[in-house]
Each structure stands twice: as structure tokens, then as C-alpha cells.
């Protein structure tokens, strides 16, 4: 046990600071991906609820495809696709050889596009959970579509979306581990580095696993608090 704390501690040659920094990177990239996903998810939910059938089909295609393809492939596409574009741009300006795309950015975008497909379903369900009467009443008051969205739909849908978003967040957090394959030094990659240089792979990957569990515990509790707060004004049959 004390050998473990020497290895993972913060004193001397301990890996504590490296693992903590990597945990912060994991959180940052997961949050960024979740944020990008929220934008994609809202756009896709809006498209799937629109009266225009082309938009509905597009949204349907997006959610079905991205939810049916391994995330790892999407990450490869964004990383290598981004690098190819950047390399060609670089050649225009006289750069030589392969220019790698920024891994944080491509990772967050890849995760964002995937999680957007899941969030789209959450937002769609949340909007559908609104009672029709509210929207009719807003129309009767003469509210236009934007005012209606801002005052009536958004505040209530956001409330209904919280539990579903909590699930997607847990998914995003775990997915973020995959970005290690393109070299972003987040928790997983840091554990690999530590495992390689100390020949203690079990210790490092177990520690990484525990840190993921910790993040998911804390964020799960945060989502429960948020849900309880948001639902204060709602009467529920029970």
C-alpha cells in the first residue's frame, strides 16, 4: 500500500501531479465535447421537429449513422481528415511533410459530433414532453416562434432534458478515453505513459479507472442536484 502511495503520490518521483493534470485534461476535453454536442444536438432536434421533411430526414440520418458507427472510427476520421487538410494547407505555405491536427480540438469535435446524435434524441424527447396547451396558449398571446422558443419551450425543455443529459455526459466522459489513441495526454494516455516508464501497468490503469469512477460519481451527484432544483416547480403524481 505504501509503495502505491510512493508511486502515485505528490512527493519526489510520485506520479500524482501528472495523473491529476491528465484528469483535468480529460474533464476539459469531455466538457468541450459535451458542449459541441449540445449545439449539434439542438440543431438536429430542431430539424427533426421541423415541418420540412428534408430537414427531418437529414436529422434522422445524422442520429442513426453516428449512433451506429464506432466512436473510434469517428475520432480517426477527424484526426486524419483534419491532418490531411492542414498538411495540404501547410504545403501551400511551404511547410514540409506531415502536419498533425491539434489533438484536443479534433478530439473534442469528434466526441461532440457523436454525442450530438445522442443529445438530439434527449432534446427531442424533452420538447415533446411539453404540453401542447402551453404552446397553443403562447400562440394565442401572439408570441412569434423565437419568443415562444425563448420564453416557453427552452426553459421547460431544459428541465425535462436534465436526466437524459446526465446519461449522455457519462457516455461522453467514458468516450473521451478513446482520444488517447491519437495522442492527447488525457488520463488514459498519461496512464499508458506511466505504465511504460515504471512497468507497473496494472497500478496505473487501475488508478485511471478509479479517477474515472470518481468523476462519474461526482458528476452524477451534480446532475441529481440540478434535477431536483429544476423540478422544484413541477407537480408530479406520486
Amino acid at each position: 500500500m505504501s509503495a502505491y502511495f510512493d508511486l502515485m503520490g505528490f512527493a519526489g518521483t510520485g506520479w500524482g501531479f501528472d495523473m491529476l493534470r491528465a484528469t483535468a485534461v480529460t474533464l476539459a476535453v469531455a466538457l468541450a465535447g459535451f458542449g459541441v454536442g449540445a449545439i449539434f444536438g439542438m440543431l438536429s432536434a430542431a430539424a427533426s421537429l421541423s415541418p420540412v421533411s428534408t430537414l427531418r430526414h437529414l436529422a434522422d440520418g445524422y442520429t442513426t449513422t453516428l449512433r451506429g458507427i464506432p466512436d473510434l472510427l469517428v475520432i480517426y476520421l477527424f484526426y486524419f481528415g483534419g491532418s490531411t487538410v492542414i498538411t495540404q494547407l501547410g504545403h501551400l505555405f511551404g511547410a514540409e511533410g506531415f502536419v498533425s491536427a491539434p489533438v484536443f480540438l479534433t478530439g473534442a469535435l469528434a466526441i461532440g459530433v457523436v454525442s450530438g446524435a445522442y443529445q438530439a434524441e434527449v432534446f427531442r424527447g424533452a420538447v415533446l414532453a411539453l404540453s401542447r396547451g402551453e404552446i397553443e396558449a403562447a400562440k394565442a398571446y401572439g408570441m412569434g416562434p423565437f419568443l415562444r422558443f425563448r420564453r416557453i419551450i427552452l426553459p421547460q425543455a431544459a428541465r425535462f432534458a436534465i436526466p437524459g443529459l446526465g446519461n449522455v455526459w457519462q457516455l461522453v466522459l467514458k468516450e473521451s478515453a478513446l482520444i488517447s489513441v491519437v495522442g492527447l495526454v488525457e488520463l488514459m494516455r498519461q496512464a499508458q505513459i506511466g505504465a511504460g516508464s515504471t512497468r507497473k501497468p496494472f497500478t496505473f490503469f487501475l488508478t485511471a479507472g478509479l479517477l474515472y469512477l470518481l468523476i462519474s460519481l461526482v458528476s452524477g451527484a451534480a446532475f441529481r442536484v440540478a434535477e431536483a432544483r429544476a423540478m422544484r416547480g413541477i407537480r408530479r403524481a406520486s
Binding site: 442513426t64 449513422t65 449512433r67 451506429g68 458507427i69 464506432p70 466512436d71 473510434l72 472510427l73 469517428v74 480517426y76 476520421l77 486524419f80 481528415g81 491532418s83 490531411t84 498538411t87 506531415f98 457519462q170 466522459l173 467514458k174 468516450e175 473521451s176 478515453a177 478513446l178 488517447s180 489513441v181 488514459m188 496512464a191 499508458q192 505504465a195 512497468r199 507497473k200 501497468p201 496494472f202 497500478t203 490503469f205 487501475l206 485511471a208 479507472g209 474515472y212 469512477l213 462519474s216 460519481l217
Partner: protein, 239 residues
């Protein structure tokens, strides 16, 4: 250089198809062994025994709360840290990426499936179980005749989602050298730097696999719910 080259696409599509058998093998192996383990976990959860319930809860919490990649790396890289294990009978298996990937996928899907099975069992109407008990059924007969057939049907929709997740998760085996569809795709992409065609080809393969699986399970569900189908005349409007 144009964005999409059709002959390049076709050539690589064929190359990627060679990964399908391995993807399917990993899926089948982990799904079947995972289902057996999940039944054990679900029965622990439903046993009413606090110790067994707590054990299963803890297992499910850990395996659903950590990334599959961590689980895979602990098994494939991590276990070699223990010399005792390296001398044991299990080492010939744990040394192979194939068995490590199958084991990680099995342990992971078991955690998710256990909750799906538990949900199916809980969803069997209480009246049915009471009626069966009133008929004098108990224990295994009750399970075999009343609970299992209904729970199985009730859990199918959620289980088909889980199967799709497993098919997608087999892609992680490529990180430990397995040349299934994603492994081949990664190799081709890094050799050619043409990610678009290869991504579309590999993506199409996964979509096709997942589409066939969901169709098969929907067919199974349809066949199993013959007794619950409303009469043709009654459906019409609302279907």
C-alpha cells in the same frame, strides 16, 4: 486530389470486409458469455440476499462507470504485472489479444445486460406470478413457464440496443492489435492518408451489421408476441 475516389473506395471496401469475421466472432463470443454472466448477476440482484445484491451492485457500478478502454488495458497490459499470473494456467489465454478483448467485452456487457434482464423480470406483472402460485407452481416451474418467457420478450428492445453497443465496442480491440474492421481501417488510413473513403466504407459495414441485428431482434420480438398482437381490424388507425 479529389475528395472521393470511387475505385479507391471499392478496393478498400473489399479489404475492410476481411475484418468482418473477426468483428462478428468477438461480438458473438462476448455476447453469449456475457449473457450467461449477466443472468448470474441479475439473479444476485433479485435474490433478496443483501450480500449478493451488494456484490452485483458493486460490480455493475464499477464496470458501467469506467471506460471500456481502461478495462481492456487492465486485462491486456495490467495483468502482466503479476508474476504469479504469468506462471499460471490462464496465461496462455491472457497473453492473447483475442481472449483479452473477448474477456473485457464479456465482463463489460454483462454489467449492462444484468440490469436489462433485471428490468425484464421486474416488468412481469405481479398478477401473473400470483396466479401461477395459486395454481401451485413454485420455484423452477414458475420461472420456466411464467417469468422467463415474458421477461425475455420484455427485455428484447433494450437488449438489441446493448447488442449494437457491443458491435461498436469491438472496435476497441483494434487498440490491442486486433485486425477487425476498425483495425484494418486504422491501418489503411495511416498508410494512405485518405480517411474519407475508408471511413465511409468501414462505417457502412458497421451500419449494415447493426441494421441486420436490430431487424433480426425485431423479428424475434414480433414472433414472440403473437398472443399480444391486437386483431388486424382493431389496429388500422393507431398503428
Amino acid at each position: 486530389m479529389n475528395i472521393f475516389d470511387v475505385s479507391f473506395f471499392a478496393e478498400n471496401f473489399v479489404a475492410l470486409c476481411r475484418g468482418i469475421p473477426l468483428t462478428l466472432q468477438l461480438t458473438l463470443l462476448s455476447v453469449t458469455s456475457g449473457a450467461v454472466f449477466a443472468i448470474v448477476l441479475a439473479s444476485f440482484r433479485l435474490s433478496g440476499n443483501q450480500v449478493l445484491d451488494g456484490l452485483a451492485r458493486g460490480y455493475i457500478f464499477v464496470f458501467r462507470g469506467t471506460p471500456l478502454l481502461v478495462q481492456l488495458y487492465i486485462i491486456y497490459y495490467g495483468l502482466s504485472q503479476f508474476p504469479e499470473l504469468r506462471k499460471s494456467f490462464a496465461w496462455p489465454f491472457l497473453r492473447e489479444a483475442y481472449w483479452c478483448a473477448s474477456l473485457a467485452l464479456c465482463l463489460n456487457t454483462a454489467a449492462y445486460s444484468a440490469e436489462i434482464i433485471r428490468g425484464g423480470v421486474i416488468a412481469v406483472p405481479l398478477g401473473q406470478i400470483e396466479a401461477a402460485k395459486a395454481y401451485g407452481m413454485g420455484g423452477l416451474t414458475l420461472l420456466r413457464r411464467i417469468i422467463a418467457p415474458q421477461a425475455f420478450r420484455l427485455m428484447l428492445p433494450a437488449y438489441s440496443n446493448e447488442l449494437i453497443l457491443v458491435v461498436k465496442s469491438t472496435a476497441l480491440a483494434s487498440t490491442i492489435t486486433m485486425m477487425e474492421v476498425t483495425g484494418i481501417a486504422a491501418k489503411l488510413i495511416s498508410a494512405t492518408y485518405r480517411p474519407v473513403e475508408i471511413f465511409i466504407a468501414a462505417g457502412a459495414i458497421y451500419l449494415l451489421l447493426n441494421f441486420s441485428i436490430t431487424r433480426l431482434l425485431r423479428l424475434l420480438e414480433y414472433r414472440l408476441s403473437r398472443d399480444r398482437r391486437p386483431h388486424q381490424a382493431a389496429t388500422g388507425e393507431h398503428a
